[in-house]
Amino acid sequence: MSKILSVSGRGIPLRGNDIDTDRIMPARYLKVVSFEGLERHVFEDDRKTNRGPHPFSDMRYQDAAVLVVNSNFGCGSSREHAPQGLARFGIQAMIGESFSEIFLGNCSVLGVPCFTADHDTIDKLQSLIEQSPETTVDANVETGIVTAGPLKFQASMPAPVRDAFVQGKWDPTMMLLDKFDEVRHVATHLPYVSGF
C-alpha cells in the first residue's frame, strides 16, 4: 500500500458547522450496490437550494484536492458513500476545525488524511482560497505543516492515524489478518464466544 506523505493541490472552502452526511450524500443515492458515480451527487440538494453559488458548483474550485471545512464536518449517518463521493470528486485531503468520528474513520480507511486547526486559522485559509482560488494548498502529513500562499500553520492529526498514512498502513485489513492466531486466542477467551 502506498505511503501518503503529503497532499498538494487547489483548495475548496466550504463554510458552516455541523454539515452532516445526509447533506454530503442524500440518502436516495445510497440505493446502489457500488460506489461508482457518487461524485455526481455530492451536496446535490445543497447545491440546488443554496442562495449563492455552492462551492461544489463553483467552476473556480472544480479541480480542488483539499477541502477546507469548519467544525463537526461529516456528522450524522455513518454512510461511507459521503467520503467516497468526495474522494471520487477529487478531494484528497481535508482541513477543518473538527470532524465527526465515524466520518474521520471512513476517510482514514480511504486514504484521505483529515487535518484539524483552530477556527481563526481555518477562516484565514478559507478566505485566502476564496480570494485566490488558484493558490496551491500543501498539507504535509508527516509534519502537519500546511502552506498556502503566504499562510503557513501547524495542523494536527491523531498520531496513530498520521503514522498509518506515513507508513502506508492506512488500509487496515491486511494488518488485521496478519496475526490471526491472536484473534482466535481473544475470541476463545471471551465467555460469550465459548458459550459461558
Binding site: D22, V33, S98, V183, A187
Partner: protein
Amino acid sequence: MADTLFHKVWNAHKVRTLPSGQTQLFIGLHLIHEVTSPQAFDMLRQHGWKVAFPERTIATIDHIVPTSSQQRPFLDVMAEEMTVSLERNCKEFGIKLYLPDTMEQGIVHVIGPQLGLTQPGMTIACGDSHTSTHGAFGAIAMGIGTSQVRDVLASQCLAVEPLKVRRIDVSGQLAPGVYAKDVILTIIRKLGVQGGVGYAYEYGGDTLDRMTMDERMTICNMSIEGGARAGYVNPDETTFAYLKGRQFAPSGAAWDKAVTWWRSMASDRNANYDDVVRLDAGAIEPTVTWGINPGQSVGVSERIPANADPEALAYMGFEAQMPIRGTKIDVAFIGSCTNGRLSDIEEAARIVKGHKVAKHVKALMVPGSREVAKEAEKRGLHQIFIDAGFEWRGAGCSMCLAMNPDKLEGRQVCASSSNRNFKGRQGSPSGRTLLMSPAMVAAAAIAGEVADVREMLEAVPA
C-alpha cells in the same frame, strides 16, 4: 483497580496494538443490512477473502424495505436489486439473513436486542451510526463505514482508537408526558451535537436505573446525535430480565455464568471518568426540535431562542422567539430505531385512543420489527391507530431517512419520533422535521399542530 465498563470491555476484546498505533479490537457481534454492505462483499471477493467468523454476523433488510406492501419482488427495482444482492452475499459467505418473509425481520437495532443477540460485555459493530442503541445492554457498540464492514467480515476486527468516557448522571422523577426521548434531546441540547466527539457516554443515575430496556435504547440510540460514537448503560436486573428466554440469550447452566460475567463487566462504583455531567430529570419537559440538527430543541412551552442559528431558521421558515407550540404539521411519523418499539406504540396508543387524526395530517405508524407489529396487533393496538386515521404499516426504517417510498413532499412539516432533523432527511430536499417523543407525535397528529401531550394525558386514565 476500579474501572469503567468501557475499559473492561475494551481490554477484553483488544487483540493487540497495530503497527500504526491503533488498537485491533475483536468484534463480538456484527450486524449488517442492505445499504452499507454490498460494496464490502465486493471488496472481499476482489481480494479472495473469506468471512472469518460467519456465525458472528447477522443480516436483515430495513432501510429500503417498503412498508405498504412487502411482497417480493419489490416494486422499486433498486430496492429489489439491493435485497437480491444481500441474499446472494449472505448465501455465498454463510451468513444468517432475516428477510420480511421471516418473523425475525425488522430494523437492525430493534431485532438485535429482541432476538437476544445483543448482550452485555460485547463489542458490537454495524454499518449504521445508530449502532450505539445496543449500548443500552452494557455493550460497546459503534457505527462503522463500509470499508470497516469489510474489515469486520474479513477479520472480525476493527482498527480503532479508544474513546474517553463521560458519565452522564440523570436523577429525579420524570413528569408524566416526559419520556426517554425528552431526556436524550435535553442531553444533546445541553452538551451540543459536537459535545460527545472523542467520548463514549455512560448514562446512569436513578432515572436511568428505573428505565425499561426500551427507554434505555432510546437514550443510547441518539448518543451519535450528541457526537458520541458509543453510549451505554451498565447492565443490571432490568437488563437480565429482558434477555432471559430470548432466542439467542444463554440458557440453562450457561445463564447463571453469563449473569455473573455480565455483572463483573459493569463499571465499578468508584471508577474514574474523564468527565461527569449531572442532569435533573424533574426539570425536563416534552421537548421539540425547531432547527436542522438534534441539538436545536426547546421545551414545548418555550420559544425558539432569540439567538437561534439564522441558517436553521431560514430553512425551517421559523422566526426567533416564536413559540414552537402551535406549529402546524402536515405529516406525523411514529417509528424508527429510536422509537419504534412496543412501549412506544403503547404510549402513543394511549394518546390516540378515541381521537381522530386532524384532517390535513397524514399519519404513519411504522413498527420497528415484525415481532413488534405482531405483539401490538395481538393487543389490538393497530386498531386504535387505524380507527384514528393512522396508516398501520409493515416494519422498516421508513420515513426516518426515506430510502423507501415513505417520503415528505415539498416543504411539508413532519412531527417525527425519529432521530435526525437534518435538511432533506425525510426524503424531500426542502422537507422539515420536528423531532419529539412518540406520545408528542400522537398529540400533534390529533391537534394538527405541535401540542403539549401533558394536557392530553390529563384526560387519559393511567
